[in-house]
């Protein structure tokens, strides 16, 4: 029997979960384009969201291709470089980036503009995987501390922008990384305790007025006065109206009143989910939820078959990052979480968000495809660092 071609190997390794992830990603991109089209249809100023998003998605294809077909060692070897680059960019944006809507988040080169925090998210995933992957490494307290520091640095920079939401998004990645890589329970408990204390201090002391206001508004969301609904509670209230009035089947494409009448702020970015729920109802919302869930679930299931600790950790981190971002976005839109400005992965219109997300998914799939599958009994044995595809060092 001829040896299985690489394509078949890949297909076999990725299997159903991989396919599910890829298809879900694709469908979500399509949904994002539909959303942009809907917003375009209801804006009378001729905004070309759909077109631009389409262009970006197309531009993402070669990037994904590159990431997918690059040698797996490349990713691992360059994790540090990517991380350093992202930290530098984060620092840079604080000084050089223009202030938009009260925050400095973007760097522009010519007409090209992107958010370093997007890059940082994936960089952190890779870095954590690199630091913590492997049982022995994970059990090392110093490594754990290093991992925490490596997350705190970009997080602090992001908070300075200020973008508390994205910064907090790094926390689940850290938690997942620690869990999955096999840190000691003691370390985990210590970390949890420290995190709780840190959070408490943050809430009491560190939060800006408007951030405290946001939490307060969110907590009291059912008892807001009318003027509050026009001020602090504006986004959440309008979002809930959009979602709630969608009902079971929704109003139909480009027919949602909140969308049509420009009554929902940020409806092509942060509140894209609200528009979808308004126009496609409960059905549409559940579909998006399922699709967004497919990605982390698929990736995690995929990772369970992998022997290589780095790959496993990296994939789970990426899965957690994407999944939590989706959950938080949908939670914010429905009022389950206090308002933060997080985009819905792949669906929201956004400069670099979709591209980076696709690239990270490509990286995850690549890692999954090239990592040697674990035999059932061997799965999760003591830390294996080498992968079968590693060429023997010369």
């Amino acid at each position: 029997m001829p040896p299985p071609s690489r394509f078949h190997a890949v297909r076999e390794r990725l299997g159903v979960p991989g396919a599910v992830v890829a298809i879900a990603a694709f469908l979500l991109c399509i949904a994002g384009l539909l959303l942009c089209a809907s917003v375009d249809a209801t804006e009378d100023k001729g905004t070309g969201y759909a077109l631009k998003q389409g262009v970006r998605l197309f531009a993402a294809i070669p990037v994904c291709g590159f990431v997918f077909f690059v040698k797996p060692r490349w990713i691992r070897a360059n994790a540090i470089i990517i991380y350093t680059l992202s930290v530098v960019l984060l620092a840079l944006v604080l000084f050089v980036g223009p202030v938009i809507n009260g925050a400095r988040r973007w760097i522009g080169f010519g007409s090209f503009r992107f958010q370093p925090s997007d890059l940082a998210k994936i960089a952190v995933c890779l870095m954590l995987a690199g630091v913590l992957a492997g049982k022995e490494r994970a059990r090392n307290g110093w490594r754990v501390l290093l991992a925490i520091v490596l997350v705190l640095v970009p997080a602090a920079l992001i908070v300075k922008e200020p973008d508390l939401g994205t910064a907090l998004n790094l926390a689940p990645i850290l938690v997942a990384a620690l869990l999955v890589s096999g840190a000691r329970r003691l370390h985990l408990l210590l970390f949890a305790g420290a995190a709780a204390a840190g959070l408490a201090i943050l809430i009491i002391v560190g939060l800006h007025g408007y951030q405290k206001e946001r939490i307060d508004t969110w907590w009291r969301q059912n008892e807001l006065t009318r003027s509050e609904k026009l001020a602090q509670g504006y986004h959440l209230h309008r979002s809930k109206i959009a979602i709630g009035s969608g009902g079971f089947w929704g109003y139909g494409f480009a027919e949602g009143p909140q969308n049509k009448n420009d009554l929902l702020p940020e409806r092509h970015t942060d509140f894209a989910f609200s528009v979808i729920c308004e126009e496609f109802g409960f059905v549409g919302g559940i579909i998006i939820l399922i699709l967004e869930s497919c990605i982390p679930f698929g990736l995690i299931i995929l990772s369970m078959r992998i022997r290589d600790a780095f790959a496993r950790t990296a994939i789970i981190c990426i899965a957690t990052q994407t999944g939590m971002q989706a959950i938080v976005n949908m939670g914010v839109a429905t009022g389950a979480f206090p308002t933060t400005g997080i985009a819905l992965p792949l669906v929201s219109y956004g400069g670099t968000s979709a591209m980076v997300t696709l690239a990270s998914l490509a990286a995850a799939l690549q890692l999954a495809a090239s990592a040697e599958p674990a035999l059932a009994a061997e799965a999760f044995g003591p830390g294996e660092e080498a992968t079968a595809l590693d060429r023997p060092r010369r």
């Binding site: 009378d44 100023k45 001729g46 905004t47 070309g48 223009p98 202030v99 938009i100 809507n101 009260g102 503009r113 200020p162 997942a176 869990l179 999955v180 096999g182 800006h208 007025g209 408007y210 206001e213 807001l224 006065t225 009318r226 026009l230 001020a231 602090q232 504006y234 109206i241 959009a242 979602i243 709630g244 009035s245 969608g246 009902g247 079971f248 009143p257 909140q258 049509k260 009448n261 009554l263 729920c277 409960f282 919302g285 559940i286 939820l289 869930s293 679930f297 995690i300 369970m304 789970i316 957690t320 939590m324 959950i327 949908m330 939670g331 429905t334 009022g335 389950a336 799965a379 999760f380």
Partner: protein
């Protein structure tokens, strides 16, 4: 173990996903109806339909004050801003400040906004808040430079639009609009030229030929400047991130302001101006026309009866605001108790139908004020769904307005005019002299005021014209000038006259009552008693003759014997010293002395030392005429078709035989052989009455000349009192006025036998 941990992560995700599903279920299935209602509230516009305030009609239904449908011009900043490239340019220019430099590279912010929006409408996407958050100075300069560039190198569209805009308004529409707007709105043309100057300056800076623009641009611009400067100073002093704490609240506040920035430019523009704005709306961006009503006064008469209107006071509006706030509170509660549900429905009705809207009016004086509640109607409501463009369609549930009730006065406009003209025309005895006085005509049985003329009088036109009114006020307040035009001599004279001999019936009845005399008692008249004197020597007279010949000696003797208290008592019973209830401003009059010596008492008996108004005198004669009933004087005949009540407020308590005696005596004044008015010709008209000549300035021989009475004497219908102030006349000289009035066409229906 790791597997367990991975399972844990999966479980965590699943839990979150379930949370989202539950939340979606709650919002979209469980409470979707409430959210739909909330969504509809946002896209729902309620337009109120104005009601017509009740008309004020005269006795026969002639309109004196009536509401007419008209149009009002409103200006909405938001749509002006969105549609008008010049407004946008002005906005950015004012934000960027005046800097002489130009031709700079497009600044980052503009560029970014442009990219994001992808069109030259980017400028309109920049909010004041964004600009406020821009780096000061350098960015502002660059922004301004960018604006120049934008306008200079711009795509055809903007330039063409600008040129089109200009051409369309140049001279033609602007003047046309200014022409079409009525007088008080002509301030708009002032605003237009002011903003034209501004735009000229802008053009100059941008090196364009001179142009013009529309009304209110200047004010809008100033508000933008103020708004942004407030934002600039508050939010961006040092660039410290902490300063943006207020950003969201500030932004929301501005959003609220922007969305609701609707201002009424002109209250009452005619159809031509409205048509101009409606059919050429692209030339008038931001302008809109609202249907409204305005009060018209087809008859300029009787402003002091009909009254005036004013805008509601802050307290009155506050009252409705509180109701509105409570309504909002109840509306927020998704579950209301039954009681709250009822309160909610009530409040909704109250606020929607009754609350004061901008431009609404409230009665300030007169009947407009006294009957304000009945004159006001209830607004209607049209419920519309709107899209961004503001188009709407009507939902089946339109609440129709309820117009106010009409108020019918008792005054007959024709009769009033006749009486007024007669007074103004003077008396034959003093040809060519402009007299001052008043003429009151009332209905004997019901107390209706049929006419209340006075000279000098003022009309509503006098009130509307500020200069005229100021002049009238000056004359009125001038103590040396006896005119006092704003003090209507009918019910609130500046110097209330004394009734003179018309008062003698009171003295007569008081004397009879106190049994000082009998109808047969004779008294000798020598031509004078104390300081008083008669015109003639009357020799021996009884009461009947004393009235007929108006003997001062007789009544002076009676007054002396009655004493002040009795006289006061009798006077009050006849309605003197009491307000007639005609108007809140009227004077009471009454006896002006407290203790009296003999001379004073004599004078009192003859009708001196007591102040009165013609209405009071007329009322007293009406009491004689109707058999002793003192009626409450009415100005309002009916409200909304329902007749107003007729009230009797007193009784003069007079024995029938005395009443007959007095009435016969009054008849003989005009009909008898010695009557003081026997030559007046009033006997043929069935009049019974009394002349009065009150000496006010004996040295100059100036009197108040009165004639009061009723007609027809067999079955009295109307009572009247007329006096002329400070003239060299006697009461009998006034009778031609009475005769002319009673013979007039306007009076005929009132004298006809039923």
């Amino acid at each position: 173990m790791e597997r367990a941990r991975i399972i844990f992560i999966i479980a965590a995700f699943a839990a979150f996903a379930i949370l989202i599903v539950l939340r979606l279920g709650y919002l979209q299935i469980a409470s979707t109806d409430e959210w739909r209602a909330e969504a509809e509230r946002l896209t729902e516009r309620q337009r109120s339909i104005p009601y017509f305030r009740g008309a004020i009609l005269d006795r026969k239904g002639t309109e004196i004050a009536v509401d007419e449908a008209t149009y009002a011009l409103d200006f909405e900043y938001r749509s002006f801003h969105l549609k008008n490239p010049i407004a946008q340019a002005l906005q950015v220019e004012s934000i960027a400040g005046a800097s002489p430099s130009g031709g700079v590279e497009l600044p980052t912010l503009v560029k970014i906004a442009r990219d994001a929006a992808g069109s030259q409408f980017a400028i309109s996407n920049i909010t004041p808040g964004q600009i406020a958050e821009a780096e000061p100075a350098a960015e502002r300069d660059a922004l301004r430079g960018g604006l120049e560039k934008l306008l200079n190198l711009d795509a055809l569209e903007n330039r063409a639009a600008r040129a089109r805009f200009r051409d369309a308004i140049r001279a033609r529409s602007r003047t046309r609009l200014a022409e079409l707007l009525p007088g008080p709105c002509s301030g708009i043309s002032g605003k237009i030229s002011k903003s034209a100057e501004l735009l000229d300056k802008l053009d100059e800076r941008l090196k364009r030929p001179a142009g013009e623009t529309l009304a209110a641009v200047e004010r809008v611009r100033n508000e933008i400047i103020a708004d942004v400067e407030a934002g600039l100073s508050k939010n961006y002093e040092s660039g410290n991130i902490d300063n943006i704490d207020n950003v969201s609240a500030e932004r929301a506040h501005r959003r609220r302001k922007r969305e609701s920035w609707l201002e009424r430019l002109a209250d009452d523009v005619g159809y031509p101006a409205a048509e101009l704005v409606i059919f050429r709306e692209d030339e008038f961006p931001g302008f809109s026309v609202a249907e409204t009503t305005a009060r018209r006064y087809p008859r300029s008469l009787l402003p002091w009866v009909v009254g005036t209107l004013r805008k509601p006071s802050a307290e009155e509006i506050q009252h409705f605001r509180e109701a509105d706030a409570r309504l909002d509170e109840l509306a927020r509660q998704l579950d209301r108790t039954e009681e709250q549900e009822r309160e909610y429905a009530q409040l909704q009705q109250y606020v929607v139908r009754h609350a004061y809207e901008p431009g609404e009016v409230v009665g300030a004086e007169g009947v407009e004020r006294a009957y304000d509640a009945e004159l006001r109607g209830e607004r209607g409501r049209i419920y519309e769904k709107t899209s961004k463009r503001g188009a709407g369609f009507e939902r089946p549930e339109t609440l129709p307005p309820i117009n106010g009730k009409n108020v019918t006065l008792t005054i007959d406009v024709e009769l009033q005019k006749t009486a007024q003209d007669l007074l103004a025309g003077g008396v034959p005895a003093l040809p060519g002299v402009q007299v001052r006085g008043s003429f009151a005509v009332i209905d004997v049985r019901t107390g209706d005021v049929l006419a209340l003329a006075a000279v000098p009088d003022f009309t509503r036109d006098d009130l509307k014209d500020k200069e005229k009114y100021a002049r009238l006020r000056d004359i009125d307040n001038d103590k040396s000038n006896p005119a006092h035009p704003l003090h209507h001599r009918g019910y609130r004279p500046w110097l209330p006259p004394t009734p003179g001999s018309s008062f003698k019936i009171v003295t007569a009845l008081a004397a009879l009552e106190h049994e000082l005399i009998t109808p047969e008692t004779m008294h000798r008249c020598d031509g004078r008693i104390g300081m008083l004197h008669c015109d003639n020597v009357h020799n021996e007279v009884n009461l009947h003759e004393a009235i007929e010949e108006s003997c001062n000696c007789y009544f002076g003797w009676l007054g002396e014997r009655l004493g002040l208290e009795a006289l006061e008592d009798a006077a009050t019973r006849f309605g003197f010293s009491q307000k007639t209830g005609f108007d809140s401003l009227e004077v009471k009059g009454g006896f002006g002395i407290k203790t009296a010596d003999v001379d004073m008492l004599r004078r009192c008996g003859v009708g001196y030392q007591i102040d009165c108004t013609p209405l009071q005198v007329a009322r007293s004669y009406a009491a004689i005429a109707n058999g002793g009933k003192l009626m409450k004087l009415r100005v309002v005949n009916a409200v909304g078709g329902a007749p107003a009540p007729v009230e009797q407020i007193g009784d003069i308590n007079i024995k029938p035989e005395w009443l007959k005696l007095i009435r016969d005596s009054l008849r003989d004044v005009v009909a008898g052989a010695h009557g003081t008015a026997r030559l007046s010709g009033l006997a043929d008209l069935g009049v019974a009455g009394k002349t009065g000549t009150a000496e006010v300035d004996p040295r100059n021989d100036l009197n108040h000349a009165w004639f009061c009475g009723y007609a027809p004497y067999t079955n009295p219908k109307v009572a009247f009192a007329v006096y002329i102030e400070r003239v060299k006349l006697h009461g009998k000289d006034v009778t031609p006025l009475v005769r002319a009035l009673l013979e007039s066409k306007a009076m005929a229906p009132y004298l006809r036998e039923n």
